[in-house]
């Protein structure tokens, strides 16, 4: 048994924000009680969480673990270790591996590898179409049997409105959300950053914000047509957010996530350094303001990192030739504290919600601290000063624009199924 004592327990599901001790027994929570009231047996191990926040295990619902197929950039083992260090207890890996996770054998491979080598829970996301090619629907029901929690053709959008309709219809019958990488590929063709003054100044081909919002508009209307569950991934533009807000007001089952980099950086921060290259690209100043507003007012359901490792050999090239994507796990909590909580824009409870009950609800899961619930806990500090050095990252890749950034607060310990998979102390 493991006793987590002296922590400030924050749980959005039960609206708890109080000094509580939590006793874990195996992979379950046994008991939660006001500080100092739990009996301590001789064989009880103790984790002293004094000065720390103890929250339900954080979920990162949008990540790339690169296995199978691109193990030079990341593996399930290295990626989940980086996730554990970042305070995540669950990661949902996108299907754009090589081969694409579009059938039950690939899903089972991922689930088995994660069970054998993973440091945190891995909930795979299956491809919506075979090979994510946008033609025929993948073996979604079989993949669901094997463990997928959602479908997506991430890396690209579901190719046509017709296919989006079919997938949303089918997934409604399977009770799975459809996660959309919203991008009008004709508007985005050739672009390497957001179109605007910065792209014009740098002479880099830009995609307009409409490249995203045009596709969101299509999908919201298809969601209305089908009554399906639509989740917009890594939303980056004000216009897209407005449509999600409108859809929610109409009572549609539309949700969305944003990444820490999109609520932290803007297109003006882009230099000819490929660590600033990701898709969707960093937005305009007004987009970031809109995202901060959406995080505060509840329009945004989840923070997800879009952790996208690429080995140095792939990223250390001309900006326009580099692949899209940056690391995300290890800086997510610190960036959220820095941008959202320390600035007073969000309460700490709301921030925790965006990492726990928020993504859980999108995926049709439950996340709460209660006797009998999974012993997955994220423990973090609000004020510990530290500096992110990407060379020490658990990831196999180094593509972070936040290398060398100093933070106040960040992950302190991560417990998965009752086991301490990461601890600073």
């Amino acid at each position: 048994m493991l006793l987590i004592k002296n922590g400030r327990v924050l749980d959005p599901a039960t609206k708890t924000d109080a000094a509580r001790d939590i006793l874990l027994d195996g992979d379950r929570i046994k008991e939660i009680a006001p500080a100092g009231q739990l009996a301590q047996f001789a064989d009880t191990q103790v984790f002293d969480a004094s000065g720390l926040i103890v929250a339900p295990g954080f979920i990162d619902m949008h990540v790339h673990l690169r296995e199978p197929g691109q193990e030079n950039s990341e593996t399930i083992e290295s990626g989940t270790l980086a996730a554990a260090r970042g305070g995540f207890t669950v990661v949902c890996c996108m299907p754009n591996t090589k081969p694409v996770n579009d059938n039950a054998s690939i899903t089972r491979f991922i689930v088995d590898r994660a069970r054998a080598h993973g440091h945190v829970h891995v909930w795979p996301i299956g491809a919506a179409s075979i090979g994510s090619k946008g033609e025929n629907i993948a073996d979604i029901a079989a993949m669901r049997e094997a463990g997928i929690v959602a479908v997506s053709d991430d890396g690209k959008p579901i190719a046509t409105a017709k296919l989006a309709r079919q997938v949303m219809d089918y997934c409604r019958s399977l009770d799975l959300p459809v996660i959309e990488h919203a991008e009008d590929v004709s508007l985005a063709a050739g672009a390497v950053m957001r179109e605007g003054i910065s792209s014009t100044r740098l002479g880099l081909p830009g995609m307009p914000a409409a490249a995203e919002s045009v596709c969101v508009a299509r999908d919201v209307q298809v969601a209305e047509l089908t009554d399906g569950r639509l989740h917009i991934a890594h939303l980056s533009a004000q216009g897209s957010l407005d449509q999600v807000r409108f859809a929610k007001q109409q009572g549609l089952h539309v949700t969305c996530e944003v990444t820490p980099h999109h609520f932290t950086l803007i297109d003006e921060d882009v230099t000819y350094d490929s660590r600033f290259k990701m898709n969707p690209p960093l937005g305009a100043r007004e987009d970031r303001e809109a995202l901060l507003q959406g995080l505060a007012d509840g329009t945004i359901d989840a923070i997800a990192t879009d952790h996208a490792p690429h080995e140095p050999a792939l990223k250390d090239v001309e900006f326009d030739k580099a692949p899209f994507g940056i690391l995300g796990f290890e800086t997510a909590i610190a960036l959220s504290l820095e941008q959202l909580v320390h600035t007073g824009k969000l309460s700490l409870m709301r921030m925790v919600e965006l990492f726990t009950t928020g993504p859980a609800r999108v995926l049709g899961k439950e996340r709460k601290l209660a006797a009998g619930a999974a012993a997955d806990l994220t423990i973090f500090s609000l004020d510990r000063p530290w500096t992110y050095n990407v060379k020490d990252s658990a990831s196999k890749s180094r593509n972070s624009p936040f290398d060398g950034r100093s933070f106040r607060g960040g992950p302190a310990a991560t417990l998965v199924s009752g086991k301490l998979v990461h601890s600073l102390s």
Partner: protein
């Protein structure tokens, strides 16, 4: 006034003082171009790498001539013959050339920021001879030298740039350089080639985007005509005939500019497309002076960067002239 330049990657970060220094340093090299014996010994023993990852004739020849007239040797890499075709990365190619120990790395590349990227990895000075649609600093300097010679000063001129501004590295270098001397810009061309964002790329500089050629040319002191770069466009976005109809610089339209307006063109010219032959060859055109000045400016660039010289003196020039 002394200045130290490690690299020459862009004109945007340079001050008006630094630009004036470059232009003043080019003056003695302009003299050399008129001399019957043009070869100096200033950079004897130095090697200049000319790495042209994108095809170029004029700029490559201009840098090669500049190096040769300074007495330097050159190493040449050209796109067609390069190992890039065999899958080598830009960084590997640059490191390999660098291992042959040149003293300066002059490079052209089709990717914006490529020179910036290479400069972060090489110890030796890097000269950007054109990167994608970003900047072409030596062209900006030679244009400024030509304008200063003809107009007497760079201060407060009305500059019109005509054509595909969005895809032009020459236009960006011109704006960043001349803007520091109070020049006002009118950018003129079809809307998809003249995005409004251009008005804000150089804070402090007056830049206006217009779509009517009559409005664009009015009161111009200098007209910079850009080549219609069909090869650099992602897709054809305007018909050739429409372009001629709306934007070609011809004698009738020249009357809208100031009577002594100067015409520049970075070359190569598509005669009969962006400009009529009579205007291109007329007395207001400075197109060939630009080419001659290009050698002088590039001699100054190579001299200043390879010798690390910060004073305005040229010992070797004294020997020669």
């Amino acid at each position: 006034m002394t200045h130290v330049f490690r690299d020459l990657l862009a004109l945007e970060p340079l001050s008006a003082d630094e630009i004036t220094f470059f232009l003043d340093q080019s003056k003695p090299f302009q003299e050399i171009q008129r001399h019957p014996l043009k070869k100096l010994a200033t950079l004897r023993g130095k090697t200049i790498a000319l790495a042209f990852f994108e095809n170029s004739t004029r700029t490559r020849l201009s840098f090669a001539t500049a190096a040769s007239r300074l007495g330097a040797d050159t190493m040449n890499l050209q796109a067609e013959a390069s190992s890039l075709k065999k899958g080598e990365t830009l960084l590997d190619t640059a490191n390999n050339l660098n291992a042959m120990k040149p003293d300066c790395f002059v490079m052209r590349h089709s990717s914006s920021g490529a020179a910036d990227f290479v400069a972060r990895h090489l110890e030796i000075p890097v000269v950007n001879a054109g990167d994608g649609t970003h900047e072409h600093p030596s062209q900006g300097l030679l244009d400024a030298l030509t304008i200063r010679d003809r107009k007497g000063s760079l201060d407060n001129l009305n500059i019109t740039i005509l054509g595909d501004i969005a895809h032009s590295r020459v236009a960006r270098s011109n704006i960043h350089l001349l803007g520091k001397f109070g020049c006002r810009f009118t950018l003129c061309g079809p809307a998809m080639w003249v995005p409004r964002e251009l008005e804000k790329i150089a804070p402090g500089t007056s830049i206006r985007c217009v779509y009517q050629v009559e409005e664009g040319l009015r009161d111009a002191d200098v007209i910079i005509v850009l080549r219609v770069q069909t090869e650099r466009l992602l897709e054809p976005s305007l018909s050739h005939n429409d372009y001629i109809l709306l934007y070609q610089l011809n004698a009738a339209r020249m009357k809208l500019a100031k009577p002594d307006a100067l015409i520049l063109h970075p070359g190569p010219i598509n005669r009969g497309t962006e400009i009529t032959p009579e205007v291109a060859d007329g007395s207001q055109s400075a197109v060939l002076e630009q080419v001659t000045n290009g050698v002088a400016v590039r001699m100054a660039i190579l001299y200043l960067l390879t010798t690390g010289t910060t004073e305005g003196s040229h010992p070797a020039l004294g020997e020669k002239t």
